[in-house]
Symmetry: D3
Subunit: 236 residues, 6 copies
């Protein structure tokens, strides 16, 4: 299978795996630090997105580095990102955890949507939120904020390792985001997390059905060996 096909399969599977399940799969593999702090859907109910991370990092603003002229410069990395972030990717911006400054607004969201970007994730704010919601690009952020990025940031490198919501994001890592927030899957683990996560989703749907039918969680959930054995039998 080509890499592209593999990626497409992983993404398709991850779209059916909740971030809650992804974090558990990663915890089982020893990873406790994968969910972005303070990064939530701009509006709950946007559904779930999954894709490879395309990254930008900001450094603090300085009066000479962060001017409207800099924003209008075609060599500005934050401009370039909008046109270069691949279709199907998730654009992830390290905004240094500052909620009070907007990283994108409605026009950039519109352009990204047009280009097929799967979603936008930042630990900073989003501006023009009414407009961004009208555009419909799925977005995760630290909340609405009217000021433009240059008010508090200077755009820096594209496609480097960044922090977002206090977790590491390496370009090419997989991102899954839904109503519980956004999580990172190290690229090397994505295939197995997708596979085992999908299976966990199936088992938990069965558990939920049982619990809805009145079954006690005592000796049943969270699942130990007995529950897993029962599920394994059913699966056959």
């Amino acid at each position: 299978m080509t890499n592209e096909k593999l990626d497409a399969e992983i993404v398709a599977t991850l779209r059916g795996v909740s971030t809650a399940t992804v974090t558990m799969q990663l915890l089982k593999r020893g990873y406790r630090h994968v969910a972005m702090r303070g990064v939530l859907p701009l509006k709950p109910g946007q559904g779930r997105v999954a894709g490879r991370a395309y990254t930008l990092r900001y450094v603090p603003f300085r009066e000479d580095l962060s001017t409207p002229a800099v924003l209008a410069d075609p060599r500005n990395s934050a401009r370039i990102a909008i046109e270069e972030c691949p279709a199907g990717a998730i654009y992830v911006v390290d905004a240094r955890g500052k909620p009070d400054t907007g990283i994108i607004g409605d026009i950039l969201a519109e352009r990204m949507k047009h280009r097929g970007v799967a979603g936008f994730v930042t630990d900073g704010g989003i501006r023009d939120v009414a407009g961004v919601l009208a555009v419909g690009l799925p977005c995760w952020c630290a909340g609405p904020a009217s000021p433009a990025s240059i008010t508090e940031h200077t755009s820096s490198d594209l496609q480097v390792a960044i922090g977002c919501g206090d977790v590491a994001v390496i370009p090419g890592d997989f991102i899954v985001a839904d109503d519980d927030g956004a999580v990172v899957i190290p690229a090397a683990l994505a295939a197995e997390v997708a596979r085992d996560g999908a299976e966990q989703e199936r088992m938990e749907q069965w558990i939920l059905d049982q619990v809805k039918a009145g079954r006690s969680t005592q000796d049943f959930y969270p699942p130990g060996d007995a529950t897993r054995a029962e599920w394994a039998k059913l699966r056959k």
Copy 2:
């Protein structure tokens, strides 16, 4: 009247008393520290709940104490709570004020709802929020968060004094929670707070009607002796 009947009456009355009114009744009795910081409805419009507190406390996680195996152990206090929290009670969890970790998800919410638990309150996060909202158990928390409790916590004692949202909760205290958040009423004060709170609600409805009709708040609201006298006369 039996204790049980008394409890039921207090709870029924408190369901008609807003948390804003409860905090004022407690402030009049010298209590300023009863509203949980940062604890808000998972979704506004869930209505108001009232009930006795059933408590669990967490301590920080440690790699050897907070594993998936621990979660699956039937002696885990966080598991036991789900099956032992009484119907009509409110399950209150001290999650050390950490918003980024989920304390319950959809399956546990479903089981609590099935068992008649009146509501869930924590100063931590909730995971599987889409699912939890579908279940319909009224929940108050610090927001959505995908990671499971063991990512950041170790479950500890049941039914001990805890802090939640930086206020003390003693098992058996009354909790009232609505769109303004969650508040604690020391058990010994619940009957009088319910009674006087209900009366304050009636008076404030009358005041609101007057103000809607164009009456000035000058010399009228917040209510001093004159307003109270006027209301007392009306009540007769």
Copy 3:
């Protein structure tokens, strides 16, 4: 033109200028510190308000200064404000950035609405939020909070320079607030910010339409000289 007429014109124009645009207009004039931190609409979709600021400031509570009796005293500045804040003005309260205490509730919101106050802005909380939303006065705040102001504050001077959301507000400054939050325009700059902001809105609508039609942002947006020249030509 009379001052009153001029004010009315500025306000009418600003109602069509987003806070995102206002912050950019002010940044171009050297102002980076005009958007209130952590101050968001009580409920998104309340629309945009604009008006002159009428101000109150709080200091920390003290057990002898912050009693229910003080709240009921007609000389209490927080009471006076409700009856003196002019129609069309925006009532801005410095609540010292404390989200956990409510500054107004439904009755005061009702009275302000009745008196024609355009909106309410605070860096503190709002109580009785279900009631306040029913009243319909547009409000910006740090979130819902059940305790009354005296729980954490003592009301102090009216119509003095205050801080709100960590920005300076001088009585008479213009406030614009929408789904992105609340911003301050120094009074002396309001006319030009309104004028240039309205023009920016028109240009950005055109840019958005172009981008919707598939135009690349490369060499186009954020707007530099070429984009501005193209727009200037179109405007003729």
Copy 4:
């Protein structure tokens, strides 16, 4: 006795009463909110100061209000304070709890010392700390910080109620500050707090001597009725 003489006596007594004792005396009178958060001696071992509070408040900076020219304007309230704060008073500045900006430096400290100001207290920073320590004016603050006040603040009213370290300070309140930090005594309570605090100091010295001699704290300290009775007998 004249007011001045009374003041001098209270201050002389308070110089012998630790802030730990002052907070306990106030707690016994129902006051829990009197110790300034995050306000510590610029250098421990500066000893204890006591005096009436002379106050200044800052609001957030704005680019047009907070310029070097404003700093040099003789009508600037922060300048006036340096020459008007009475000898024996403690100059208390509401710096909005911002540790990263300096409120005074060595030259202003020198002038205050020359004029007999008893001490300087702020919830902001102090700059030129090496120089300020050389001057020897006792100072309490949030730490060293190189930027001048106008970097983050605009000076506002003198001698109004302020917040400092999240507690209310009314001009004329008494301040006591030592290695444990700075506390406020409402003016009306100063005489009795000084008197009872001095007595508490004597009793606790006796208790400490007993404990040093090997006496158990069980049934002895913190002091209940038995300990107090024993002390009362000794005092006679």
Copy 5:
């Protein structure tokens, strides 16, 4: 060897192992969450202490639970701890990470020192700091703070699992504290961490001597296989 003797040996060894070395030994065993946040020596240069943890936890204060009378009650757990914490142990108090309230003062420090308690560790404040330093009991805390514990806390259980500085402490765990702060060693790992930590100290002293003599850290430090091999040879 008796347990007591084993303990004494572990403690003696740990007194020669820095907290920096302890954290590295634990990290090598998969533990990243063992150093208490914000817990520093009351005064640097107090040296290093090591010992088993004896624990107390606080919950938030409430006006009825946190009175001077409660403090004076011999059944108060915070009083009992002072007389029951074993000689050689380290008394660790969960003060909910609140720096602004003092957990012990000079009299209690004196008594603990008299009783042979090895040290005091809390994520809260310490009051009467000048007196506590005079007593000489080694203390780690969040800084000086004048108010008594009941201002913000209610004392709760003794000898239960607690959090301190955001890490779990189980009664009987080993604590090591020095100028870098305080760390926890799970009881089961103490012997091996002491042994391997002491060896690491020896190797790092040799490395430091080499570096002082001008050796490059390139290919040498932090130590990889080559450095370890060189050290192993030297050790023979």
Copy 6:
């Protein structure tokens, strides 16, 4: 003059200019955002250092990226920095504002001192502080912290734009650090800031002498036109 000579002159001059003066010189040029938040001398009284910035940035740790093996890898950027940071430079590390993790310890400090590095600046912690103080390399940081960098960070790029203490640092910018903290001077402004800062120091020494001699600050300090004119005359 060669660049090297010019650099040496700028550095020599800046060693005589306090960070308080540097921030004022930059504020006069429109820069308000140059002093690192929360970055203070590891020990006051270390004197002042000045030099060009050599930079490293960290991103958040991840279990697979931040292991003891990674620390020992000679290609680790944090290792390379120790051997490549030029003599006379100041090594500045972006530790994402996390105070609880140590960025360097005594061995690395010793090596940097040996190599002639002028100072070390980070917004993270320092470990082995007793040892680092013994080495004598001047250090500025967020405080002592025992855990190694990999506990919370992954080392990333060398010599890129970073944030440190929430301000931008571009490799080659000048850093000045003293007891008030650490500040950044954009490279292009260093010569003039040094020159004008030195002159400001001379004028302020004269002002301080005048104030010591009893001169009022009224109409004198902070210096306006009259004071500057008087000084200008004296200078001739």
